[in-house]
């Protein structure tokens, strides 16, 4: 080609491109898109961030958050520094909830099932259609006189939304508003009622205690209110007063909290309650309890002598007496009972024993001890909720099921046959924003907002000794075509008409919320004492993020007497399914520190964040003691089949010296079959092989109640962990000093 030809072609092509550009532009005037903020909204200044206070809904702790919003998009979530629960701090799960809002796998529009149920074949519909389909279903149900066969299943919702859902169900004529939460604190509440007569989960003043005896409470990662307790832990270790609190952890598998403990007592699984009672016995016998009713306590505790307990718990008698001495003499000391104690079949009994310990050492109602809360706690009865639903559904007594914010197909043991029973329900509507396992079975999906787009409120439970209410306000406008759950229910009420419509005349959930707070305001004399009109008060709620008294807690004393307690404590260790020969290993399960009960598994940040104890990413594992593994001929990273009497799953082996040789342990949270691209087919779900058992007294599900056997199988996927060596190899990276040296040093300084 000559140079001249080349230039010609170039010229013609250039003109063509130019013309094309010109016509393209001319056909759609671009001005509207070029300057979107010619008249910007008041709160949008490019480059300047707005911070909206709101509520974190990733777990039930009820932390206050600040959402950083720039140009209408949420950018980051931090703790609300004014909030008494989390004091400006926030855990990884809370920060990652941003990725729920902008998740690529969100359900963007209302959906109607097109093909067979569970095949994932949906067609998009409008909100009007969606609401009308569901209203028609509800109308026909009530016309047939089957209103009581409408079931609503939600997570453990508190506050105004709970009241709204309840009044909707009541005015519709169905008593079946049920809730389900895999990890809740039913046993803790019940133990508090039995021993202290207080209908509230107490506040544990970890910050000011000097000796913390934790029975399997992993408060650093998932127990009750992790951010609040982590903050307190920091204060306990290196607080203002310079006296370092000691932490002793009793659990079969070293949790994150256990990893930070000064001493680890690996008692035999299921015997921790007996151990607590033996410590109590030693406190009374060795004279650390000074109360006038010492004799009756001793009578109550007879049969729990450290000598006998040593045989059952595999903790030496001397060690038990040592703990009793330190616990009884250190002022103030504190005993807490967590998941690993509460999730046995006799979990309640163990927690009662922990309360007895606190009473004997004089820790109840004192600074640095157990501080009773005044607000009434509410927990969910497992048997009367999810189990009742499964039962009714398998008997075909459920015509329509509404599901919101819970995923029972994933979080109930397979032995319960939840999935099979849900198949019997003719019509399921889900309000989930994500295609989780339960929503995948739905006939109609009306996607609700995520918490950053919606209104709401929450009353923290357990609180910190005084009531704390947090307000949730939309930090950003809805990103997809979704609707707030409260608004869905209100428009449904309008669609159903009749009595339901008359009872629920609010235009939107934000109006309902404001009315509810008007009522709180006029009733609560503390709030009235703030000398603000309601509008001023409401504005303050929105800017502060909630309401809590400025005055701190008044600690009140609570008496504990040995009378009537005997019926609630049990002498025997907890029972496990599966005979010892066929299933030689105890299985303890725990909530994955980033995925909790599986709800966080769809957030890529949480998937990629290394687990604190194993550094495993994008998957789960089974922790096996190296001696057990070598006797079975299993190496790290190999895949094993974990088999209980109720089923089997595969898992990767992680060799972990921090676990008893007779125990294996698995985190709950992975192993989704649906729930978006990040969660799907990552790891396996140990809930599947758990028995369907409960604490007979509190009817709380007992997760740690089966034995398993493991055997090597062919590898499926690879286990990926971030760490190289777990040893320092003489590099002196984490330097330490002994507690004695620390004490001496502190004296020198002061």
């Amino acid at each position: 080609m000559k140079r001249r030809d080349f230039l010609k072609i170039l010229g013609v092509g250039g003109v063509g491109t130019g013309l094309g550009y010109f016509f393209g532009k001319a056909s759609k005037p671009p001005a509207a898109e070029l300057i979107p903020y010619l008249n910007p909204p008041v709160d949008v200044i490019p480059g300047v961030a707005n911070w909206y206070p709101s509520l974190c809904t990733q777990c039930s702790a009820g932390c206050g958050i600040h959402v950083r919003v720039m140009e209408g998009r949420a950018k980051k979530i931090e703790g609300n520094p004014l909030h008494p629960i989390n004091k400006g701090k926030l855990c990884a799960r809370g920060q990652a909830s941003l990725q729920a809002l902008y998740n690529p796998d969100r359900i963007k529009k209302p959906l109607k099932r097109r093909g067979n149920r569970g095949k994932g074949d949906f067609e998009e519909i409008t909100w009007e259609e969606g609401i009308s389909i569901l209203s028609k279903n509800l109308i026909s149900l009530s016309e047939k006189g089957e209103a009581d066969q409408l079931y609503l299943l939600t997570s453990q919702i508190r506050g105004s939304l709970n009241n709204l859902l309840n009044s909707f169900m009541v005015s519709y004529g169905s008593p079946n508003y049920l809730q389900y939460e895999l990890f809740q604190n039913k046993n803790l509440l019940h133990a508090s009622q039995v021993t202290m007569g207080v209908n509230a989960i107490p506040h544990y003043d970890i910050a000011n205690t000097k000796y913390l005896l934790s029975f399997g409470a992993d408060f650093s990662s998932t127990w009750v209110s992790p951010v609040s307790y982590s903050y307190a832990y920091g204060q306990m270790r290196q607080g203002e007063d310079g006296i370092r609190g000691k932490l002793v952890q009793i659990e079969p598998r070293l949790s994150l909290t256990g990893a930070n403990a000064d001493e680890w007592v690996p008692a035999k699984p299921g015997t921790e309650g007996v151990l607590a009672l033996a410590i109590a016995y030693a406190i009374v016998e060795d004279g650390y309890y000074k109360g006038p009713d010492a004799a009756s306590w001793k009578a109550l505790l007879s049969g729990y002598s450290p000598k006998d307990a040593a045989v059952v718990t595999e903790v030496a008698e001397g060690r038990i007496r040592e703990i009793a001495k330190e616990f009884g003499q250190t002022r103030p000391s504190l005993a807490i009972g967590g998941e690993n104690l509460a999730r046995y079949e006799n979990g309640m009994s163990g927690l009662v024993a922990v309360n007895i310990l606190n009473h004997l050492a004089g820790n109840i109602g004192v600074r640095g001890g157990v501080i009773p809360n005044s607000n009434g706690s509410r927990t969910i009865d497992f048997k009367n909720n999810i189990a009742a639903l499964a039962e009714a559904a398998s008997a075909s007594k459920v015509k329509t099921l509404l599901v919101y914010d819970t995923n029972p197909v994933f979080t109930t043991p397979k032995a319960m046959k939840t999935e099979e029973s849900l198949r019997n329900i003719p019509f399921i509507a889900s309000f989930s924003s994500f295609m989780d396992e339960t929503t995948a079975m739905a006939d109609l999906i009306l996607p609700a907002h995520t918490s950053l787009e919606d209104w709401g409120d929450d009353f923290a439970d357990p609180s910190v000794g005084y009531p704390v209410a947090t307000l949730m306000q939309p930090a950003v406008s809805p990103f997809f075509n979704t609707m707030g759950i409260g608004d869905i229910i209100l428009s449904l009420a309008k669609g159903v008409g009749g009595k339901v419509k008359d009872k629920m005349q609010w235009n939107g959930f934000s109006d309902y919320l404001k009315d509810a707070w008007k009522e709180n305001y006029s009733k609560d004399k503390d709030m009235l004492a703030s000398a603000l009109t309601f509008d001023e008060f409401w504005n303050q709620l929105l800017t502060r993020g909630g309401w809590w008294p400025d005055e701190k807690a008044k600690v009140k004393a609570v008496s504990v007497s040995p009378k009537g307690i005997e019926a609630h404590i049990s002498k025997v260790s907890s029972r496990f399914e599966g005979d010892e020969k066929g299933f030689p290993l105890y299985l303890t399960t725990y909530a994955h520190s980033s995925h909790l009960d599986g709800r966080g598994a769809n957030l890529p940040w949480l998937q990629e964040m290394p687990d604190p104890m194993t550094s495993v990413v994008w998957g789960n594992w089974i922790e096996v003691n190296p001696t057990t593994a070598s006797s079975l001929g299993i190496k790290e990273g190999e895949t094993v089949t974990v088999e209980s009497p109720f089923g089997k799953i595969n898992a990767h082996v992680y060799l972990y010296p921090g676990i008893r040789p007779d125990t294996v342990s698995m985190p709950i949270g992975q192993g989704h079959r649906a729930y978006g691209r990040y969660a799907k087919d990552t790891g396996s779900n140990p809930i599947e092989i758990l028995p369907f058992k409960e604490d007979p007294e509190t009817r709380e599900i007992a997760l740690n109640s089966t034995r398993v056997r493991i055997s090597r199988t062919t590898a499926s996927e690879k286990m990926v962990k971030i760490e190289g060596s777990t040893k320092e190899l003489g590099r002196n990276i984490v330097q330490t000093i002994s507690p004695e040296e620390f004490k001496r040093m502190n004296k020198e300084v002061s």
Binding site: Q95, G234, R237, F479, I722, G730, V734
Partner: protein, 260 residues
């Protein structure tokens, strides 16, 4: 050319003098109390969120390409039942005498007027020299251009640039937050106050183990904590003069004996 080299050697010599940092405006320092740290990982996630750190996926994690600028190292010593576990958050130590700075052929990593060890992404040509020189293994390399799957990109922090393939990156002590605070202080005609700047990790830390501030300000929290008898710095024997000060963990692990 000779003049250029002279300027560099002159600059490097500044850091060799004791108390060199007094010539700078600030000496940003982080104190991490290992006795408070419980290893929960909130700081790791805060760093991801603040600094637009990409998620690389399972495969790349397996190739040691996980991008976290801040990691929590965990050490397990001993056998059952005498197991001792220790945690330590490790990020760029912002060394006063940074080995990485001496290696970079294009001056992409240098010391700024605040005594920070900064990385200029536009200059970086990806020779990997700095990462090889770094004894703390805190530098992260963009092996490819990682995509933020839509609409997750809506969450990207507009104050922090996104990086692409071939660029080295690392912890910046959240320099964007330092800049904002300094600008604000300048506008208001005052000094930056202690506690005004909090990098994302410090802000989020649930136990309050991390503290950030100016070591040159004798009344600052870090200046007080830095005098603690528990203080030490990571691999101090390498004489890198890190700006991150750790406070020793209080525990009975047979201190002094570090065989294994």
């Amino acid at each position: 050319m000779a003049g250029f080299l002279e300027r560099i050697t002159e600059r490097l010599n500044i850091y060799r003098e004791p108390g060199w940092y007094k010539k700078f405006d600030h000496k940003w320092t982080m104190v991490i109390d290992l006795d408070k740290c419980n290893g929960c990982g909130a700081c790791v996630l805060a760093c991801y969120a603040e600094n637009n750190i990409p998620v690389v996926g399972k495969e790349d994690c397996d190739k040691s390409r996980a991008f976290s600028w801040l990691r929590i190292e965990r050490y397990v010593e001993g056998e059952y039942p005498d197991v001792k576990v220790k945690f330590i958050p490790v990020m760029c130590q912002h060394c006063g005498k940074a080995p990485c700075e001496t290696g970079c052929p294009v001056y992409a990593t240098y010391h700024n007027q605040d005594g920070l060890n900064v990385q200029v992404y536009n200059r970086c040509v990806g020779t990997f020299t700095c990462a090889t020189y770094c004894p703390y293994d805190v530098r992260r390399f963009n092996w490819r251009t990682y995509k933020f799957e839509q609409p997750l990109d809506n969450q990207l922090n507009p104050d922090v640039t996104v990086r692409e393939m071939g660029v080295m990156e690392k912890c910046t002590f959240c320099i964007q937050r330092i800049r904002v605070a300094k600008d604000k202080a300048k506008d208001e005609g005052r000094e930056v106050q202690d506690g005004e700047i909090q990098p994302a990790c410090v802000q989020s830390c649930p136990t309050g183990a991390m503290t950030f501030g100016d070591l040159q300000d004798p009344s600052s929290k870090v200046a007080k904590l830095a005098k603690s008898p528990r203080r030490y710095r990571l691999l101090e024997e390498l004489n890198t003069d890190p700006s991150v000060i750790y406070l020793k963990r209080v525990m009975n692990d047979g201190a002094g004996t570090h065989e294994e």
